[in-house]
Symmetry: C2
Subunit: 255 residues, 2 copies
Amino acid sequence: MKKPLILVTNDDSIVAPGIRFLISVMKEIGEVIVVAPDSPQSAMGHAITINNTLHIDKVNLDNEIEHEYSCSGTPVDCVKMAVHEILKRKPDLCVSGVNHGSNSSINVIYSGTMSAAVEAGIEGIPAIGFSHLDYGWSTDFEPIRDYVKEITMAVLQNGLPDGVVLNVNFPKTDEKSIQGIKICRQAKATWVEKFDKRTNPQGKEYFWLTGEFVNQDKGEDTDEWALKNSYVSVVPVQFDLTAHHAIQKLNSWDL
Amino acid sequence: MKKPLILVTNDDSIVAPGIRFLISVMKEIGEVIVVAPDSPQSAMGHAITINNTLHIDKVNLDNEIEHEYSCSGTPVDCVKMAVHEILKRKPDLCVSGVNHGSNSSINVIYSGTMSAAVEAGIEGIPAIGFSHLDYGWSTDFEPIRDYVKEITMAVLQNGLPDGVVLNVNFPKTDEKSIQGIKICRQAKATWVEKFDKRTNPQGKEYFWLTGEFVNQDKGEDTDEWALKNSYVSVVPVQFDLTAHHAIQKLNSWDL
């Protein structure tokens, strides 16, 4: 079997420990090309750069990788740039992460890591976003190495259904206590915002966005349940946002 | 009936003609509060500001509105700020737009306008994003006034299913030739990117993101079909991104 071509990106920037770990796993599996943001792009969602210019620089952070680029844009820009400007052929897989922090539940919608994976999916590339609930940059990723590899190999072997990418989250725990992998649905949860109001040296008010994550979902088939119970959560994510079940109801309005 | 409290926002900035028009329609329906970006935030998707400070300024662009604020953040920041910092009670409705340009099909995922509506939906507020295919700032919005009003009144009267917001797009046409309103699904379409490569005065390469919109979907139940045939398209949009249909298949992988 020819080595698969694997595009690696993230949202924490090209120097983040999470992507360096992910690159190290992907090197065991295929030919790796890296196109990742030159600065942190957390919580950028599916933002793209249309009102500003984009820059790419060839970098050499890993001697074993021929094609490694840092990009001035968002994670989604990185995928677009990789596919349409840098790569000679469509990659066999795109992996994004490992994100420093959770992208489970509603976090998927704010996540630059997942938006990069979704963008690859839109381009017709099988894609996986990996995130670790432990957001510290000193996280030991080794305990999740075999899981990352197993899930990646499964996607390469089986492909993914059309219009679906994977959102994989790892619990805060060591390898011994990970209970296995659960296929889940996205838990219904929200952030309850608390803006931290401060005053700047000129006397003008400003705010920091903070908040508390509240899970309203008691289901045992959710990613939140899986993670709380030390499972790796895998949620299939789609980018057809149509609420198909609501179409009939709206038609009854006789607009 | 007590006047409904309506939060108005957008992504083209608080001075854009589209939001000023939308405000003028909402004043006919309820009590209006405006919290909108102080600068253009197109294509920001569901980005939020977590690594920078946020500012709000009370402005007075419309003498008939008591509470009008410009915000330094993204459209999603504006909704969070409105709900958790500015408003004393949860609004009865959030409307976003009218966007200068299409948010039909896959554009929904890049759109700041729609992300603001989705964020309101996550907060449990009925929400509608309005967009006009004509992206010029000199667009005449009057021909769509009655449609905006009709759809808004229908949502206020009927409510929306849990977890659903509306993505409304208007065709490029005048009132006489609008054929009516169609409830649709999101067409399967993508942008084929073409990066415009240039050289800066220092001799370094840079890029502008451009692209061509390609609709691969021949369905006559899609938003693209409706708009092409001069209908107003209404797509119910959900923020549970789980591809529920894929769960069984993934379980068969025996991970």
